[in-house]
Amino acid sequence: MSTPLGSPAMSPTSESPTSESPAAESPAVEPSSTMASPIMPIATSSVPTLCIDQVSFEHRGNRLLAPTTLSLSGCQRTLIMGPNGAGKSLLMRLAHGLLRPSSGQVVWEGQTPVQAMVFQRPVLLRRSALDNLTYALAVRQVPRHQRKALALQALEKFGLAALAKRPARVLSGGEQQRLTLARAWLLNPQVLFLDEPTSALDPAAIKAVEDAVLEFHRSGTRIVMTTHDLHQARRLADNVVFMHNGALLEHSPAEAFFSSPTSSEAAAFVRGELVW
């Protein structure tokens, strides 16, 4: 458990950043005991099902999300796609509980799982990289004497060990996003929400984030991620939720979605046309 967990795939420098099928996708799944976050092992199969039931959202009289029903279960990677303003981030915030629905309800079957969220623009405290991680552990009431060791492990895992003492806010955009992923890793989430985590990053940093997402998934975390990048969705998705104009148009397995989308908007989107 004490050995650095960063696999070669975690390093953003090694591969051509544009390669379509990253190496991390193919290798045999490593034993979950070494992949799990150090706080406690995750039981892979027990991620509670998320039921979004007729959820709508209005702001100052504007309907931003039409009544939407969606169910996410198992340890899957769900990519929420659609053009800007489709309601992707909104749906994710409602699911995570950051926003209260105007009608309908968000229900977890069984116990509400441990969740974490990674935002489009990394939100880091005005402290060192290490202190940003120990802060998250303090919030989750991890005993004080364990915090530093766990935080250092996470920094190591995400290739940030050399930057531990640096102020988090002077790190590069890619390093900052990896730091937020390290923070999420320490929370040991059963469900990880990511809101366009790579939209402001260069290809190498995008690769690092995608590898980290796959790493979370291997350790038994359900992934719910928004993106408007088709290639990224093809690389990562088990299933795809397609949204347009504040409405959910489609929820289907990735292969079916990319080969034969049912709605005309999704078809146009997959072809790479502009959808309005």
């Binding site: 950051l98 969740q115 969220m117 939100v123």
Partner: protein, 234 residues
């Protein structure tokens, strides 16, 4: 113009002579103002942060009131404290009128709205950046308060300095509740008023230069501390 009429010369002689009377006045000025700023900060920082984080009926009215009180005339604050502490007043039994304690109380009233109102602004700005992440981590407003106050520490230092500026510059309140008693409640600003009214303009201006120098030193120190830690922490 003889050397005695030159305020800069007078200021220099005042400092170099290490005059005991002047020394006592300077120390009392600093003591009263720093103590007032300390107490006001302890009260106003959490209040300002709370005002930024909680939305309740009457919140906007409270914000407007605090902003308005930033412009409270020192003499009015002094008068209110005078009425409270005078023998016949509700707090007359403590015999605080014309003591340094009364001066601290009056200055707290002057400094509190400044620190509270500006803290509310700073914390609200930082909160809009942090809110989603902190709520995602599972923090409620109460637990966000120390995080936001700490992370806004550099801008809050400037806020506190603004409060200190107000305290060290005002004369109306300390004059009324302190009484400018030599050796007891005489501070820099009240001395300047006294010397001006006596016609010792060079001495008054000299005292002014000493006061300004002290305030500049304190601001420089705070700036230095803030800049070094900012460079270290980003």
């Amino acid at each position: 113009m003889s050397p005695g009429d030159n305020p800069f010369y007078t200021a220099l002689t005042l400092i170099l002579s290490m005059d005991q009377g002047l020394f006592a006045i300077v120390i009392l000025s600093l003591k009263v103002s720093l103590f007032a700023v300390l107490i006001a900060s302890i009260l106003a920082l959490p209040l300002g942060a709370a005002l930024a984080l909680w939305h309740f009926p009457g919140r906007n009215a409270l914000i407007v009131l605090l902003n308005a009180l930033m412009g409270l005339p020192p003499v009015v604050a002094g008068l209110c404290v005078y009425l409270l502490l005078s023998r016949a007043g509700p707090l007359g039994q403590f015999g605080l009128l014309f003591t340094p304690t009364a001066m601290v109380i009056a200055q707290v009233i002057l400094v509190f709205p400044i620190i509270a109102a500006l803290t509310r602004q700073q914390v609200e700005a930082l909160h809009s950046e942090y809110a989603e992440q902190l709520r995602s981590l599972g923090l409620n407003q109460l637990r966000m308060m120390p995080t936001l106050l700490w992370d806004a520490r550099f801008s809050l230092l400037t806020v506190i300095l603004a409060g200190f500026g107000r305290a060290s510059a005002e004369v109306g309140a300390v004059m009324i509740v302190g009484g400018n008693i030599d050796g007891v409640t005489r501070v820099m600003t009240t001395s300047i008023v006294l010397e001006t009214s006596k016609g010792n303009l060079a001495l008054a201006l000299g005292l002014g230069i000493v006061l300004l120098t002290l305030v500049t030193l304190i601001n420089a120190l705070a700036h230095l501390v803030s800049e070094t830690s900012k460079r270290r922490l980003g």
